[in-house]
Amino acid sequence: MDQATEHSHDSQGSHDHPIDLRKTVRTYLKVGATLILFTFITWGVAYFVDLGDEHLNIALGLLIAAFKVTLVCLIFMHLNHERGLIYKTLLFSMIFFAAMMFLFCLAFYSPIEDSFLKP
């Protein structure tokens, strides 16, 4: 470790500023703790909270998961300050993913057929 610290004066022409390790890691630990807290919440919600409808319950669970995922993306994956190109790439893959999921589900929706089959 000692030997390594000699390199701490960043002579290699890096574009990033040297970071404050203690402060950064503290942020990461806080985020980690939040994630763990919300894992407990997901579990608790699934067992003790009942919105009265199965679909709502699923939506609630996924919402919490989405919040956790957002945290991971923003803080751990540094998407809170990333270059435009990366957002564009991810935007397209999210659009196509959403389109895929939506259209797959839409394939089950057939009002004409249903009007024949259902009494």
């Binding site: 390790l21 751990f76 999921m101 589900c105 394939a107 089950f108």
Partner: protein, 502 residues
């Protein structure tokens, strides 16, 4: 020319190559898991069976979520340590990450193992029981088909002696004991074209089978070349007499057909003389008892038993019931509980416990959701009341002695004739589309964990040289590896509620 922007960022995009690459790769990973999640939704929406929610044990999944979150923190801390040029901290954090990965895979394999030894049996009326097949000795034999054969038809095209496994597993009753050590003596019978038989004594071994089948196919090939040579003369025969009468053409073709038949007979004789034919009948002096899994089986009846690979046993069926230690009963797909097929096989105590548990759950459901008019028709209520896990009444994970006594406890034992079976499988992908996609998604996720761990381990164990040369380069690598690792974590954050809680 050197490839530019390997370490430092390109000014206008602000990114170094590997970072562009990994984000593109992650975009495609979004589509990969996106496809899987979409398939999950599609299968769930279109399921024509009760979707098995709340069936997995939550605890292992819960712990694994924690483990992955911890590893995510440590991998990003490892990157920060490198950025701050603290190699020691980098190493510590990387080691934590790798230990987490190891822990994750450990818990995962534990989960998988208990599913693979757990079986589910769906009866033809839709009632389902799950549990463990009855154990005899160390192997479970409750789900084998017992068949006694004195004659065996071997197909030289495809037989591979795999059927002997059944003989091996039935060693208790089999007169020959283990076929590896004892010799399997048979009398072979080969039918000649004139319906007479040639017979000889042989010892059945791999090499015998191989030798016979090679000899037979060599002959067969020779025959087919001779036949093809004649067949190719036919079109010529048809063309040659464009002026002639139609019958003339026909006689030529008939002549060729006759030649072909002669060739075929000649080869059949030759084969019979060498004791060869496509199928060979083996006669055993004593009856052999086979205990076979249903898997490699094509079909069976009271006196015949055919394997997928082509071997047929002749003799009599001894037993084909499935003997089963029940730990779960699921009657969601039957109309009337007491008329269901499984009900007539259950012992009184299990029946009582089932009814008691079921009624309690319905009452509980009514109390929780008073607004729902017909609780018996609600999916959640049905899941709670019509599916009883006897394990839930006891401890979730049994100790070794308990498990042992459970497996031999007559109270939990049911015996179902195979004719009432609709589908029988362990808790593997084959059980239902739900388990199929569960194993596929968690399995793929596990592969990602293994892949990520290998790469991060590579950075940990070989990073020092690069760090001394150019610490920024190593930091970039760890950042890229870390991004992948976070993505893997992120997928799990969705997988956990989707499979374990919903």
């Amino acid at each position: 020319m050197q490839i530019p922007y390997e370490v430092e960022a390109r000014p206008d995009t602000g990114l170094y190559n590997a970072k562009v690459g990994i984000w593109l790769f992650l975009a495609s990973e979004v589509m990969l898991f996106g496809g899987l999640f979409s398939s999950y939704v599609f299968l769930r929406l279109g399921a024509d069976f009760p979707w098995p929610f709340h069936e997995l044990k939550v605890l292992p999944g819960f712990i694994n979520t924690m483990v992955l979150i911890a590893s995510s923190v440590s991998v990003v801390a490892a990157w920060a340590s490198l950025k701050a040029r603290r190699y020691g901290w980098y190493q510590v954090n990387m080691i934590i990450t790798l230990l987490c990965a190891l822990g994750f895979m450990g818990i995962k394999s534990y989960e998988y193992y208990f599913k693979f030894v757990h079986y589910s049996l769906k009866l033809s009326d839709g009632s389902v029981v799950a549990g463990h097949p009855k154990h005899v000795d160390d192997t479970h034999h409750g789900d084998r088909i017992a068949f006694q054969a004195d004659r065996i038809t071997i197909n030289l095209k495809s037989s591979n002696l795999e059927f002997l496994d059944g003989l091996r597993s039935g060693r208790e009753n089999a007169p020959y004991g283990e076929p590896e050590t004892k010799e399997l003596k048979f009398k072979t019978k080969v039918e000649k074209p004139d319906k007479s038989f040639i017979s000889s004594d042989i010892t059945l071994t791999d090499s015998w089978l191989k030798e016979k089948s090679e000899a037979y196919w060599a002959l067969k090939e020779e025959e087919s070349y001779a036949v093809i040579a004649l067949e190719t003369q036919k079109p010529l025969a048809r063309q040659s007499d464009s002026d002639g009468v139609k019958a003339d053409k026909q006689t030529k073709v008939d002549a060729i057909n006759k030649q072909i038949a002669a060739v075929q007979k000649e080869f059949a004789d030759k084969a019979a003389a060498a004791g060869l034919s496509e199928t060979i009948l083996l006669e055993s002096a004593q009856p052999l008892t086979f205990l076979n899994k249903e898997k490699g089986l094509m079909k069976y009846g009271a006196s015949e038993y055919s394997f997928r690979e082509g071997t047929v046993l002749h003799g009599k069926l001894l037993a084909d019931t499935i003997q089963f230690n029940v730990d779960t009963i699921d009657l969601r797909q039957t109309v009337d509980i007491e008329k269901s097929l499984v009900w007539k096989h259950l012992g009184t105590e299990l029946k009582q416990r089932f009814m008691r548990y079921s009624n309690e759950r319905v009452e509980e459901f009514k109390k929780h959701r008073p607004k729902i008019a017909e609780p018996e028709k609600n999916v959640v209520c049905q899941r709670d009341s019509l599916r009883v896990e006897f394990g839930n009444e006891k401890k979730k994970f049994m100790s070794e002695e308990e498990a042992d006594s459970y497996l031999h406890d007559e109270k939990y034992m049911i015996s179902v004739p195979r004719s009432e079976k609709r589908f029988y499988s362990n808790f593997s992908p084959s059980l239902s589309p739900y388990y199929a996609i569960y194993f596929l998604m968690t399995g793929l996720h596990g592969l990602h964990v293994i892949g990520g761990a290998i790469v991060l381990g590579w950075f940990l164990f070989t990073g020092r040289k690069m760090y001394l040369r150019n610490p920024e380069h190593l930091a970039n690598r760890v950042e890229v590896g870390g991004l992948f690792w976070h993505f893997v974590d992120l997928v799990w954050i969705f997988l956990f509620p989707l499979y374990y809680l919903m």
